[in-house]
Symmetry: D2
């Protein structure tokens, strides 16, 4: 049984508490938050869970094996480092830290102490992403030509992070999980329509060595909600609509072939191939539940999490690079990966 202490009971913390309360192999030992009203809610809902306004009590408690941090991103580094130094396994909300330098330091600290460090990129644990990974790993798509994502809706405007950190972060982690290469350059554009606030709309392009290109269109200012990804391969193509109640993933047997047929000269000797479409059944387990079990499994069996600190670090590097490019109206920013 892994005892977990959770720091932060604001927007996402309650989901973590509920989730770990229901995760086989885990116990929620304590919750820390600066707001005593929030702690009162914890007391009512989970009478057995200890509460405190001082997170250091959790770090000092030898009965606690792991710490989950769901505070504003600006505090992730300090709290995370303290948890690792206290010998606790660490669950960090996304994005991992404000800077890649901080992320690198956490990764180092966890490795040095042989502690499990997971970053909560929840999407990786959904049935949809798992199915796409399975399809891609089976080479069903062939060579990956592109990844194209749209994540737009009205709100929720964030106070401390831009829409890239809030929404494109999902695409950065999904791409890291699906592809077997990392982007070499980024170009992003975006803007904040309201003075003194973070960017609320952004377009990010990632370039890969292999020729694959990825794009994320993210916005808090759209009249309709869209969560749609297209992935084009040389053999097949995928659409992923996360708002579909079922059939989220569709695999199209479609593609392009270049021919020598002189009659097709107008169309550049291109042939279009169109076959069946197939919507595989997806696992319906809640992603956070799957991730919770995975965290426990990694702790108990010394495994590396699917969304480990290295992945979290690469995501932060991309946020940094994309933000830098965005503030320079699209200027190419090359990713120079410093090993953590």
């Amino acid at each position: 049984m892994i005892n977990i202490g959770i720091i932060g009971y604001g927007y996402w913390g309650p989901n973590l508490v509920r989730n770990f309360a229901e995760t086989r192999g885990a116990t929620v030992a304590a919750v820390a938050d600066l707001d005593t009203e929030k702690l009162a809610i914890v007391n009512r809902r989970f009478p057995a869970v200890k509460t405190t306004t001082d997170y250091r009590e959790l770090l000092a408690d030898p009965a606690i094996d792991a710490i989950a941090i769901a505070t504003p991103v600006s505090t992730h580094f300090e709290l995370g480092l303290a948890a690792l130094r206290a010998g606790k396994h660490l669950w960090l909300e996304k994005p991992m830290t404000e800077t890649s330098q901080q992320a690198r330091q956490l990764v180092d600290e966890a490795e040095k102490r042989q502690l499990v460090l997971i970053v909560d990129h929840t999407f990786i644990y959904t049935g949809a992403v798992a199915k796409m990974a399975e399809i891609i790993q089976a080479s069903e798509l062939g060579r990956i030509y592109y990844y194209d994502s749209i994540r737009v809706n009205l709100g929720l405007f964030q106070r401390d992070v831009s829409v890239i950190s809030d929404l494109a972060v999902h695409d950065f982690s999904i791409l890291d999980h699906l592809l077997d290469e990392h982007p070499v350059a980024v170009s992003a554009s975006g803007t904040n329509h309201f003075p003194g606030t973070p960017e609320n709309l952004a377009y990010v392009t990632l370039f890969y060595e292999s020729g694959t290109i990825a794009h994320a269109n993210v916005s808090w200012l759209a009249p309709v909600k869209v969560r749609q990804i297209l992935i084009g391969g040389s053999k097949k193509m995928i659409t992923y609509d996360d708002l579909e109640p079922s059939e989220k993933i569709k695999v199209y047997d479609k593609g392009v072939d270049f021919t020598d047929d002189p009659q097709k000269i107008h169309e550049m000797r291109v042939g279009y191939r169109t076959g069946d479409m197939w919507a595989p059944r997806l696992a319906v387990s809640e992603a956070l539940g799957v991730e919770g079990l995975h965290f426990i499994d990694c702790i108990e069996n010394r495994k590396v999490p699917k969304t480990d600190g290295q992945l979290g670090l690469r995501v932060v590097e991309l946020i940094e690079a994309a933000s830098k490019s965005m503030r320079a109206k699209g200027e190419t920013v090359y990713i120079t990966r410093q090993l953590a």
Copy 2:
């Protein structure tokens, strides 16, 4: 009655011939094409129309008032210039020319000779774009925050022009028509997945002085066809789905207001406003028919076309700038407008 000579009977030429044959006030006098088999089709369908493989016969014919050119873009400049010098009003397919320098020269020539020069940016004459222009001109959207377009499908790959010239060109003309300002900078990214072919996928961002941002996502390599535009304003927002059989345009009474409510601190004191949605009835006349009548009206009454050479030139300037940026992985390209 305006007599029209049409040069080029390939992909789009047949539409022009059919359209002008049905346009009140216009007569199709002659068709020129290098391919005699295509001319034979004209003879069968339109026995009264003269045909020739030498376009110069059309220019030399004093009975012909106007020339419509539907040949590959690489020939637009030479043919267009010859037509203007022969004193003919000119209808040019889009994009107007290969270079902005050429476009500028055609504009000059047409102005000098007081001839009508229209560029066939057909979308401007659709009921949908007309309705959006009407709504925006009535200030119903308030300040325009963004324009976001997706035009993707499988094929048709073009041999001589990139997907920007083929698809983003529609957004460039629509934006020029809808907004009362022109972009000051462009950042684009894109790629060709097949060596030796034009770019088949591109992302283009346009920056405006006012803070408005526009984006076009265009591709010939998507498994599904999408033609969708979002326009966000400070008061209302529009969605335009061109594949909807009816209700193409939807106007959402939605928006964001910043408040002083301290309870909303997590959400940055933002309030979201959600009201009715309204789908106005659109004119159902075929756009090309509307445009044909407009061309005749401009010739007869010395009016300036909605899609005149100046608009066509600005579109070509954007194609140039976007292509330059795309080939430099998103590098910002500033638009320095030389007066035509």
Copy 3:
């Protein structure tokens, strides 16, 4: 403050307990269920609520003002009658009773004792149905030509009632609420595909004196879930798609006009009118919450519920008539309304 006792903590009971626990003016005093494991759940979630396996304790408790019954329909009559005789106001799940005779007796009993009797036809309290009622009462649709409903999905098969009682019951109550007349005849067809089980698929047509016709297509055996209603009027028409996250209700300015134009003889001198479409914003309050407040208001202020026993009775009469017709392969069954 109205003290409520709830009988039945199976499928729907937990919703009632949660709802009344959050309803201003109401207190959940006690819950009765035969299953002690279920009562243990109540104890954990609502420590202040008394629990018992003997519902008679609730009836005998003078502090309890009202009883809500969420048990199988076969027990509604007996439990409801006992509650009324104990002087309690009564909330009954739908359908009200197994037979119209029973429903009539409950209505009589409640009237005699001047107790509030509400039947939980929740749909009547949704923002969507409220908006449709508002539109119809304002005569915006003109004369109502038809009401056409589709409620199909895979499962949940019911053990004790047919799909008419489970799904068409919603249409019966909505029609009763929207129209100012009651059906005079019913024809229904349907079948059970599995021996020994209730009908799992049915088609019900209701005929009205005015010429209005209503139809419900209900099934537990469809591969996709559909919840869609069309209402056609002489002036406008409505679509109501309950699965749409927003824009559930759309009002179409569409219709048919008969003309004297002899050119239209092929089309029977019919003209089709097509105008704007409008999707009004709907109230987002949870229907059960609205209904809870309404129940309290009816008790405190001696009002008649929107979904009173008379409405509940008419719905049961329609279920009876439709079931009779269905078992006779569509035979017309006339509704002879006996006054309660």
Copy 4:
């Protein structure tokens, strides 16, 4: 080469002329219509085709092998009988005749004279229906539980036939083609909302010996256009949306299994099975072209058409039975099949 004479150049006749003009193995020899203006259109479009106002000239012409009749249904019997008696193969628009007695007589006459008699139930020749037939014949659906169709839109009101003859007729022919049994009883309800006109809205249920039930919801008075069919089987289920540009047919690996699991008692021990969905690629040939070739093939090789007179007769019998039931508010009408 089969020479075809076409009688009737109103709504559908032009499609037949165009289609047979392009059908390999067929020649349009002559067109008859009472309206000389319509014949003038034929002359312009097809100079080689003879035209006449007297259809008897076509019957008397020994060079004509087959007659296609696209006149109002009230004239089908007389014209069809005359054509058969003149020794011509016969193509009849749907519905075949006004009465089943007439249809039976035409079937007899064609059989006696060994002439091909095809009824133009075009849907049978679409890629979508062909694919559904292929799937059903391969027993992929298992036992067929139901067929549920919705065909509604605004207009076109017909002058001489009800919406059953106009729209439900498609379902009657599709069902005849897909299932290996014929309905034994019909219950229909419907109404005309405009005095003196045919019924413009109808609901038709067909009962089969095996327990299969079929339903068609047809209307000329809906604000939206719907063309959707569900077919439920014991193993799989199909949806067919004819308005989808692609993926018209979807096959769902979904179903219901009755179990002995006592935990599922609330749900009647029913288990729901949900697997992949699959949208097979459909043939894209135009249905009318396929049907034209099939007609020629049947004439040249003495084959029986897929939509022969017997199928046409059964469809007319269903129209008769459904109309009779509809006028008696749903009264069950049993189909007593008299052999033709």
